[in-house]
Symmetry: C2
DNA sequence: CAGCATCCAATTCGATACTG
DNA sequence: CAGTATCGAATTGGATGCTG
């Protein structure tokens, strides 16, 4: 109800195919390289907090900048909470909010799908790579 | 099948933090702009097939090129099947494979989350935009 | 320690033109 | 109709240097 659906060029219903659509926006977000990984790290620790450096350690390959950007986005979205200890040097802790925890559920389902089925995807890819004609879904037996 | 998490070859933490990891690869894929929307369109039609032009019509804003690239990826992954009618002009039909249908389930869960919670995300964003100090996750009243 | 600013490389996307 | 090819724009990601 935030914005009353922008008009599609062909005037069709503004389902989820506008850039404004929640699903679209969510997928845009979790599609960014490090977001879902950050959520997972925080979910695993939950309800414990995790410090910035610790997160970077667990998210192999993430740069300081990208972790920072990613967490900022999650905090802005209300999915992650941020707590600063004003010590020297400062310590910053993150953890999932209750809202973030609810997101972890469908995200975990997606991970499970990946672990169960990506091998099959790999096989399909290999078949395609071999120039299999793949007459479609009715394979000549 | 579930508990045998994919371990990295080097036997490290083995979790899902290598680029090779299935989850990572899946998220990379569904994170691309049009993939999940294409899956949704095909899922809605399933088990009926959908023609190329019809898909483009339903996916407002997608260009021919991007739809083509998106569908090629899905076909290569074994998530979508493709059938060509050798007429003139030719007709090409797409539909989800059984594997693709199983992906639609967790994807639908994600969409549902988005529809239920993105309004809350919007509110959080607005609060952030107003320069709320946000002393952390313990908010007063 | 945590994070910002800047610059640069890589990828993604879209518009356009062309083909069978 | 359903693509392919190509180019340029926009977005994204990564490395580095600097700050409190």
């Amino acid at each position: 109800m935030t914005s009353s659906t922008s008009r599609s060029p062909d005037g069709r219903r503004g389902d989820l195919f506008d850039p404004q659509c929640p699903t679209r926006r969510l997928l845009d977000r979790i599609g960014t390289k490090w977001t879902s990984m950050a959520v997972k790290v925080l979910a695993e620790a939950s309800p414990e907090e995790v410090r910035f450096a610790e997160m970077q350690r667990r998210m192999t390959g993430v740069s300081q900048k990208m972790l920072s950007v990613t967490l900022q986005g999650l905090v802005r979205d209300g999915l992650v909470g941020r707590r600063v200890e004003a010590t020297v040097p400062p310590r910053v802790y993150y953890r999932l909010t209750p809202l973030g925890l609810t997101l972890e559920e469908p995200l975990a389902a997606l991970r499970q799908w990946a672990e169960e089925h990506m091998a099959e995807v790999d096989r399909a890819q290999r078949r395609s790579a071999e120039g299999e004609d793949a007459g479609a879904w009715s394979r000549p037996g």
